[in-house]
């Protein structure tokens, strides 16, 4: 399946992916309206400093430990995509405690959220990928880990 990958060689640390992510998941049609005056809570985040930076979002593991560990059974896999049933999540954050990539975050209400590849929010391709100015984030099929 296609996943989001980051090539840190090309990441500029511009954080645009975070804003495009937040916008894509806002459900609004205008970015300024959606994000003005808010503290964004994106599902992808840029780590690193000026010399090395990279964006991290869910790896959509084949054997997702977040899903196995979810005390509410709120995390599930659908066609390889690891997703959260938000209405079931109680915000215990066990998923955050177990994810070795740091891919999950609490949303504005304390409920866990993660990248779901923009499959349900009407963006088509992941918004972070489309918004990346330097093709540091790509959405593609890969085999095993390099």
């Amino acid at each position: 399946m296609k996943r989001v990958y980051v090539n840190e060689q090309w990441c500029l640390g511009c954080h645009l992916c975070e804003y495009y992510c937040a916008f894509a998941n806002s459900g609004l049609s205008d970015m300024a309206t959606a994000l003005k005056g808010t503290r964004i809570v994106p599902r992808i985040h840029v780590e690193g400093d000026n010399s090395v930076s990279f964006a991290v979002s869910c790896r959509h593991c084949k054997d997702p430990i977040c899903m196995q560990s979810c005390i509410a059974g709120a995390i599930y896999r659908e066609d390889g995509v690891v997703r959260i049933r938000k209405e079931k999540c109680v915000g215990c954050l066990t998923c955050i405690l177990v994810c070795p990539y740091g891919s999950l975050t609490p949303d504005e209400t304390g409920i866990a959220q993660k990248c779901e590849l923009c499959l349900q929010n009407g963006s088509g391709a992941p918004a972070c990928v489309r918004g990346c100015p330097n093709r540091a984030i790509v959405y593609e099929e890969r085999e095993d880990a390099v």
């Binding site: 090309w10 954080h15 645009l16 300024a32 005056g37 100015p133 330097n134 540091a136």
Partner: protein
């Protein structure tokens, strides 16, 4: 001086209704124009630092930014124009030569725009490039005067070394050092994909790019940076740079701040030292000296590589070209006065040299008058901006063109003309690693390939319109051109008739 005598040239216009304070502009501006006013949570700008490179404008996700030319002007004066006065203020403050980058921006004639191209109607059918073969392949190099046959009567089919190009376009010299690693990688990869050549410029060849040797022209300039036997052998051709259109008669000066790491190693000079190319080659003070260097280089490469001699278009270019054609060189490259540069004295850039169109027409005709046009190929550069410029150049008599600025624009250059600062926000003319990273060669290569693929299609369309299905039938085919609004003298030099004739 405590007073800035001039209002900033540009204004940053921020639409606060749209600005979401994401700080992309701040992170992406190497000139530190933007910053967040934490206390109010809003973005502010220091416009005096803005060079109008448009990086912030391009990346602003809500299109909250635009950069406009300040309309704070001095009283109008056709003689003492704003720019003129600004330059005086600058020099009065600095005491130095004014430096600029990229090509001559002055409103001097662009002859390409005064030349029109023909098309077939009725008596001769246009050719549809989507249906019929349309050939743009060219071979650059010397062609012998006579065919030879062996004892059996068969033709001897050996030619002196030729450069094969899928289209009559090459990337002209831009050194590693003046350009970033990623810009060079983009050019090299695109040249390989396109089946054309790029040019190392005078900065030597980074070892990572040795693999693109078949698509590389290695340049030997007056500073001889990075020149060694392996370097000469690693390319497809060798170019001796005698001059550059943006600064004829001037050497080069790459500031020590750009001579870092790999650049220093590739140039074979210590880190931090200024790389100074002398105005002349100190072993070439005459045409016969040039001949010696041409043959030295041929000897060093066993006569396997064509030698290009690049000169700036100056007043007596026709005679110079004739001399070069007889020097043993295989290809002559002429760079017109609108050609770009990473840094040049402003006065030189804006006032020295002649337009490439006139130089090309004069040189091509002169070489034909002397009957030696086929013994040398002619490449022209210096602001070839689009496919029709290419078609016109070929029809005037060029074998191929060199492009550089157009390529850089494809890579993202916005012609802010401040390459000399080394703070290129587009990752092109800089060595700062965080800025270099902004140019992903995957994208750069793709965009260059796209650009030239598009140009090739356009060239084919125009050729087809003229009923020509191979580029060699366009070369020197000046009947396909007509001048518009040109004087009799200009038409005479260009060797074309006026529209309507």
């Amino acid at each position: 001086m405590g007073v800035e005598l001039f209002y900033p040239e540009f204004e940053v216009v921020r639409n606060y209704d749209r600005c979401i304070a994401c700080r992309v502009c701040e992170r992406q501006c190497a000139n530190e124009v933007h910053s967040l006013l934490e206390s109010k949570g809003i973005m502010i700008s220091d416009e005096s630092k803005c060079v109008n490179c448009q990086r912030c404008v391009a990346l602003c996700p809500t299109r909250a930014l635009k950069i406009v030319k300040s309309n704070c002007t001095l009283r109008e004066n056709a003689n003492w124009q704003n720019d003129t006065i600004r330059e005086i203020y600058k020099q009065a403050q600095s005491g130095g030569i004014l430096l600029s980058s990229m090509g001559n921006p002055k409103p001097l004639p662009v002859y390409w725009d005064k030349i029109l191209i023909n098309a077939s109607q009725v008596t001769n059918p246009p050719i549809d490039p989507l249906r019929e073969p349309m050939e743009t392949r060219v071979f650059l190099g010397k062609k012998p005067e006579r065919v030879q046959r062996d004892e059996t009567g068969a033709l001897k089919c050996e030619l002196p070394p030729q450069l094969e190009l899928t289209m009559p376009i090459m990337f002209s010299a831009m050194s590693y050092g003046s350009l970033s690693y990623n810009a060079h990688a983009s050019l090299a990869r695109a040249a390989e994909k396109l089946g054309i050549l790029y040019n190392t410029g005078e900065g030597g060849l980074h070892e990572d790019f040795l693999r693109y040797g078949k698509n590389t022209i290695v340049q030997v300039a007056s500073g001889r940076f990075g020149v060694h036997e392996g370097y000469l052998r690693s390319g497809a051709a060798i170019e001796i740079k005698m001059g550059q259109g943006a600064k004829p008669g001037i050497g080069g000066h790459l500031p020590g701040t750009k001579i870092v790491g790999d650049v220093s190693r590739t140039r074979m000079i210590p880190e931090g030292t200024d790389a100074i190319s002398p105005a002349p080659h100190h072993d070439i003070y005459s045409i016969e000296d040039l001949r010696q260097l041409v043959f030295s280089l041929k000897e060093a490469t066993e006569y396997q590589k064509p030698v290009i001699v690049k000169v700036a278009a100056v007043h007596n270019i026709a005679a110079i070209a004739s001399g070069i054609a007889r020097s043993g060189a295989d290809i002559i490259a002429i760079d017109g006065f609108r050609g770009g540069t990473g840094a040049a004295p402003t006065r030189i850039r804006d006032n020295v040299g002649i337009p490439i169109e006139l130089a090309l027409a004069a040189v091509d005709q002169r070489l034909r008058d002397e009957g030696i046009r086929n013994s040398i190929s002619l490449v022209v550069g210096g602001s070839i901006r689009n496919a029709s410029d290419v078609v016109k150049a070929i029809a005037l008599g060029a074998d191929a063109v060199y492009i550089a600025t157009a390529g850089l624009i494809a890579l993202g250059c916005h012609l802010c003309r401040t390459c000399q600062t080394g703070r290129c926000n587009w990752g092109i003319a800089t060595q700062r690693p965080d800025l270099v990273r902004r140019l992903n060669p995957d994208i750069g290569c793709e965009r260059l390939v796209n650009l030239l693929t598009a140009w090739q299609h356009e060239i084919m369309e125009m050729m087809g319109g003229m009923g020509i299905n191979s580029i060699e039938a366009l070369r020197g085919n000046r009947l396909m051109l007509r001048g518009i609004g040109l004087t009799g003298k200009e038409l005479e030099i260009l060797g074309i008739a006026h529209a309507g004739e």
